[in-house]
Homo-oligomer: 330 residues x 3
């Protein structure tokens, strides 16, 4: 029997070429907001701010020229998918769009680890959206290339939380000292859970305003409490709006209510109108992860405090920063 | 209450950089053929001709490098979608392909204005295909970036009409003095309606050949008549074919007839065969917006007068011209 | 009647610009493994090896900058589609992704020749996946631009066979002198049929191991026999594994068996586990076209002889080589 002579290489064919290998997130996965502390958050936000400046000046530039993103969406999310696509393209990179997973052989019984190991043969970084919690961690366990979690079920959606925080920083200049009020469905909204966790890294005050059946889950409240961040729950917005610096609105879905009458009773209390905004500070911002379906009246859109469309732009810069960081080019 | 200090900027982050801001279509939407007069049509066609020359010489070039097109298709149209994608790519730009709208959160209740305002956060120009008439105008009303209508229901499909006219100009050298015969379903074909409107800007003669139940609508005929353009209706092609310079064929769909026998009676009269072409001028062109399903026999394809595949190429150049124009690079 | 003056040009607008017009595959279609002899196989593999070296060094490069691939998939195949997309992007080219054919007007009655002639108006090369045998040849007959067959039903999937052979060459240094054992469903697997055909160009020994109802078809065996290549059939792996240099595993699908009990009896005999690998040579490789659904235990993945994920990478290099070759840039 012949002595085994190993093939030329076992590892990635894409040897790093000019990558900053000592950069904080080089080669890392972005799976959870729990990976972030104040220091590396500031690093990402500084890079995101540079991205903003560059996009304002030149639109696009070739920082990631020649790099390829596999944009792997097991469930459709036009907003997130488009945002990552644009982020890669504005950095001069290319995208493999994979949106048809439901019809594909990939979905016909192939395991997520196999799919991911196939795609990393072609690409330099993988963005994954998947309906099952823990999918991103599973993918990252098997992948040699960086995996960015673009939402895994009721699990995490870390890039959303990062862009929310970046929006606050850019719009209001700083995060310390702010009062952030979260409104709507605080029970099922993974967006507000992740954002609340991230905000505990700063010196903020949190208010939760929701119908009784959609209150912030006790385990999140306990987690926040353990950090010493002051928090308080309300059922109405009136009491806290005048002192609010950031009003973060989420959708109250009819399907969450077993009793339709109960829904009818509360729904209007959680719709933001020009009248609502009259009670708000002059210098504050109104945020929403979008899509909205009536939670904020379109009449509010022209209010300079309405930051939800600018929030989408900040999402672009945040994702540009993350892609550049994990690929060693930040 | 603190004095309100506005965020750094309210408007688009993509400041024009080297754009020709005084160019005729810079920053404009392309919504309807009604926007065009003879002068700005000639401007677009001159640019389209330059595009043709450049593509023939070098295939692609970097006029729109760094620019991003959001290709937003609410209904599938492989031909139009591919044409805009290729146009952007041959100009060195990038594309965000959005074809899965039906499954996406975008379609789950989000309004078109919100979707468009999200996408313009990522892209520089939006191409929109939508099944509802007026969608493109609605999108353009809310968007700060240029919107190009790629068909909105039975409304308009202006880039199709422009490429049809450009095809005539390129193939026959000029439009003035030509006799254009439209054949087939003239009632429901938005293509022929738009083309007829555009042709009134030139000195042409229009013939309409159709089954009785698929005649050109009276309101279009009235509109054309008001411009002084001579027009005439026929049920058979024989009378007008010998004097026709452009024969524009559209599909007669069986579904339009309530009586199947009526369909059987007329359908063969509207199929172009080599025999038909024997009665046509030596110097004329045969056009079709495609897809064809039997209206033109495949045996005609090798006839040099069969211009329908070249028409697709002219579509590429026309869309390159429009993208360059609205982005200030024409 | 006016003398006919032909339009400016009848042919492709994309005049070759700096193309190596005397290169072996310039402007050619890639339809079948039957096009290949040992000489032009070696040419493609030498180019593929150069691609591997370049990707290792620089990731991507601009060999096909400005060229456009129409990636036309009438049935979904994420793996093949992504592989061609990445191949084009790593060469600096662009892609028109066309995955939604089922919903599109393209599928509503338009003939394949018309679709292909439309797409070649936009693109420089067409990759076609289609469920019907002979589709690629039909498309190539009408297209003026190169067509690459990415699988047409139970017909051919030549790029898969080429990448399989390239994998063997790269992993084991040469093909001559090897014993190649094919395992599993050898009746319906077009992959093993094409690979067996290609291997007859080399000095190899072929073993076929399968359940009785999934044996290699007699016509393939006859075809191989005519080349003088030694071959032998088995129902169990034990006898041939110790002398095997390449073990090529394919999936045994339950649906192929009319009697479920028969399936239950044989299925475990065709699953590769660490125990199986203990009987294999130290220097050999285990291949699989993927997706796998249990035919190879995940515990085998870390065995250095498990080559199936590297096989995906070799697929990328092979497709880069083919694209460069047909576009005259190899």
């Amino acid at each position: 029997m012949a002595t085994y002579v190993p093939p030329v290489r076992q590892n990635s064919p894409y040897l790093p070429f000019g990558d900053k290998q000592d950069a904080p997130f080089y080669g890392k996965d972005i799976l959870s907001v729990k990976q972030f502390n104040r220091e590396n958050l500031e690093y990402i936000f500084d890079v995101a701010h540079e991205m903003e400046v560059m996009v304002c000046r030149v639109g696009s530039f070739d920082l990631l020229k020649g790099k390829i993103l596999a944009n792997l969406f097991y469930e459709p999310s036009t907003r997130t998918s488009s945002s990552f696509t644009a982020a890669m393209e504005r950095l001069g990179g290319s995208v493999i769009p994979i949106n048809e997973v439901r019809y594909s052989s990939v979905s016909k019984g192939e395991s997520l680890p196999d799919t991911v190991r196939t795609l990393e043969s072609y690409a330099d970084v993988i963005v994954l959206r998947h309906p099952e919690t823990g999918s991103a961690a599973l993918a990252a366990k098997y992948a040699r290339k960086p995996v960015i979690n673009a939402g895994d079920g009721i699990g995490e959606h870390p890039t959303q939380a990062l862009l929310d925080l970046f929006t606050i920083r850019e719009e209001l200049g700083q995060v310390d000292g702010l009062t952030v009020t979260m409104l709507g469905d605080l029970k099922y909204g993974r967006t507000v859970h992740s954002l609340a966790r991230l905000l505990t890294l700063y010196d903020v005050r949190l208010n939760y305003v929701s119908p009784d059946i959609l209150r912030m889950p006790p385990e999140i409240i306990a987690e926040i409490a353990a950090t010493g961040t002051p928090q308080a729950e309300y059922t109405g917005l009136e009491a806290v709006l005048p002192e609010t610096d950031v009003l973060y609105v989420t959708r109250v879905q009819k399907e969450r209510f077993s009793d339709p009458q109960e829904y009818e009773q509360v729904k209007d209390a959680y719709v933001i109108t020009p009248e609502t905004m009259r009670m708000a500070k002059e210098r504050m911002i109104l945020m929403h992860p979008l899509p909205r379906v009536g939670e904020i009246s379109m009449e509010v859109d022209d209010d300079p405090r309405a930051a939800y469309f600018r929030q989408m732009e900040y999402g672009l810069y945040t994702r540009m920063a993350l892609l550049a960081a994990v690929l060693g080019k930040a």
